[in-house]
Symmetry: C2
Subunit: 337 residues, 2 copies
DNA sequence: TAGCGCCAAGTTATCGTTATCAGACCTTCT
DNA sequence: AGAAGGTCTGATAACGATAACTTGGCGCTA
């Protein structure tokens, strides 16, 4: 590969100045229409490709918005990223992704790495961070948006909901349908802070109903897979066979749990009710369909995008948008009168 | 936000030259240990964050590897990205993602956009591209890797398999287990070129077995969801109730199809056999488990990473690595003697 | 003690674009 | 006809880092 083609080469070939070439590649700048056409043609013929590295440096604008998510392979976060990406893309902003792997120490490294690329805003999944992460973000001077949570001391903006509160609704629903011996299947570390919040919410909800929350099953380190959900359900059925309902930390583990029931001939919802979280497609397709909480993952991303766009236009004070979650009652928790 | 802190500020505060600060932030450069410590401390206190935009421009190295995938929300591609990302991350390279949305014209735009960020290598999902995409990539001068396919005229390196050939194996398996009236559920456009290749492979395999492949069900535009798989199965059961087996373009649609059977009281595999593609976790968890093809998604990413690393060290000629796929026979296609 | 080599740190120019200011040219109006 | 205003284009410097080269100091050898 010889030396790469730059604007200088295009300028020379087109017989204009570099500045004019630069303008020909921007929208809304004053270049005669034919000049722009000609320059673009020459550039294409030369095989010129714009270098945004240089442009970003000089203009001190990158057009990046960074987002941290626990892992790529999760439909909920993928939906949030999708919503964010689509809305921002329409406005010429590009999303750069980083994975925290459910670990706030890794998040710290990631945040620093992302800030090095000078994003114009940053979206975080979750509201719990290291002290240094908070410091880095605070002094970055860009809009910060925490999502999927309602942190008590937000760094900047918030688009989220209370994970604990969703469990309140779920427990009430199960009790209303006649179950009292309710179990919770979740991760056995607090790496997934949202999952941990849901477990806390479960415990609080049970206590406030006067039931001791003793049926807590640890299914492994987050993220909890279908397989781990199935294994956990196996243990639950063996060790506490009188359990009447089980709430799983996500629809994936809920589906795994339900499959285990089917394999063992345990009927859902007659023998045991099952509920998940996340409104994954599978929960609406499988037989029976699974009761879940819809956190409106995509809407979270879209709202975050709106917030960013308005914050970049004029920075008002921090905004907190609470996303309404829905309890979606399906066959897996129907009353069995 | 006041003016951002640069190396100059750190240099002044630490009483050294900018160059020394620069060196203090690199590994393996000659700076006295205490000097480096001191500089790092001063930098941290000032809240300095390294600006990789500038570094990339000056050094003409970005440390980026670009990858195009159809969409973020697909476990197979997510696995490939995961494998790639992990292997490259160990070597200081960072993955930047772009989505083609199953559209080679969008891929063209995307490729250009990604090239503007001067990646050091580029990984493509699929082997079919527009003429301009090929031209852009050829003149980029960086290693190109096409994956998830075995293109007849590769642009550069290849890490993939023949989608059509996998269907040959699947059809043979179903015929061996006593089925002849076999249907195929897939997308009704060719946007998903790999899905389209699988349909072509299905047609070829059926023909070579002397069976006319008439049972082709269009389930919508790719990607085919569980819901669309279920709907397609509904139509198939109504219109061609004598069908003995159905191959779905992915495990997700296969699961949807199977759920529809359960809803209608059609037994799997006794009344109809079902097969999918992709070795998604769900296919190994659901009841009954679903026969599938394992394309070793993660391995594709890992191999691509290896290829990139060796190509960046010393560019040999183009390499083609064929990934072995496995037919995974499960309950949904058991013989029903 | 001269001479060589090595290490740590400094100097200068530069990566490829764009901000900014200035100038040329063309209308339009008084 | 000349001033005023608009449109288009050009010259120059700069964004924040690093490559490449240079310098100064020290230790070692002959």
């Amino acid at each position: 590969m010889q030396r790469a083609i730059t604007m200088k080469d295009v300028a020379k070939a087109a017989g204009v100045s570099v500045m004019t070439v630069s303008r020909a590649f921007k929208a809304d700048t004053s270049v005669r229409h034919e000049t722009r056409q000609e320059i673009r043609k020459v550039a294409e013929d030369l095989g010129y490709v714009f270098d945004s590295t240089a442009a970003n440096l000089r203009s001190q604008k990158t057009g990046f918005v960074a987002i941290t998510i626990p892992l790529i392979n999760n439909a909920n976060f993928a939906d949030t990223v999708g919503g964010l990406s689509d809305r921002l893309g329409e406005n010429g902003l590009q999303v750069i992704l980083g994975y925290t792997n459910y670990n706030i120490k890794e998040e710290e490294r990631l945040v620093e790495q992302l800030l090095r690329r000078r994003p114009e805003a940053m979206v975080l999944t979750g509201g719990r961070h290291t002290e240094r992460t908070r410091r880095l973000l605070n002094s970055s001077g860009i809009p910060i948006i925490e999502t999927w949570d309602l942190p008590s001391e937000p760094i900047g903006h918030v688009v989220g909901f209370s994970n604990a509160a969703t469990m309140q609704a779920m427990v009430e629903h199960l009790i209303t349908t006649g179950r009292r011996r309710i179990a919770f299947i979740g991760g056995d570390t607090d790496g997934d802070t949202r999952g941990a919040d849901r477990r806390r919410g479960f415990i609080a909800a049970m206590s406030s109903q006067g039931i001791e929350p003793t049926r807590l099953i640890g299914a492994g380190t987050p993220p909890i897979s279908m397989r781990e959900g199935a294994d956990a359900m196996g243990r639950l059925l063996t060790e506490m066979p009188d359990t009447e309902a089980v709430i799983c930390v996500s629809d994936l583990s809920a589906f795994g749990a339900m499959s285990e029931c089917q394999r063992r001939g345990v009927r859902v919802p007659e023998d045991i009710a099952i509920a998940g979280f996340g409104a994954y497609e599978i929960a609406d397709i499988c037989v029976p369909t699974i009761t879940t909480i819809d956190p409106h993952s995509r809407r979270i991303g879209e709202q975050a995008a709106e917030l960013i766009l308005s914050a970049l236009k004029s920075d008002r004070g921090p905004v907190c948008i609470e996303i309404e979650t829905n309890l979606v009652v399906r066959q897996s928790s129907m009353p069995t009168l």
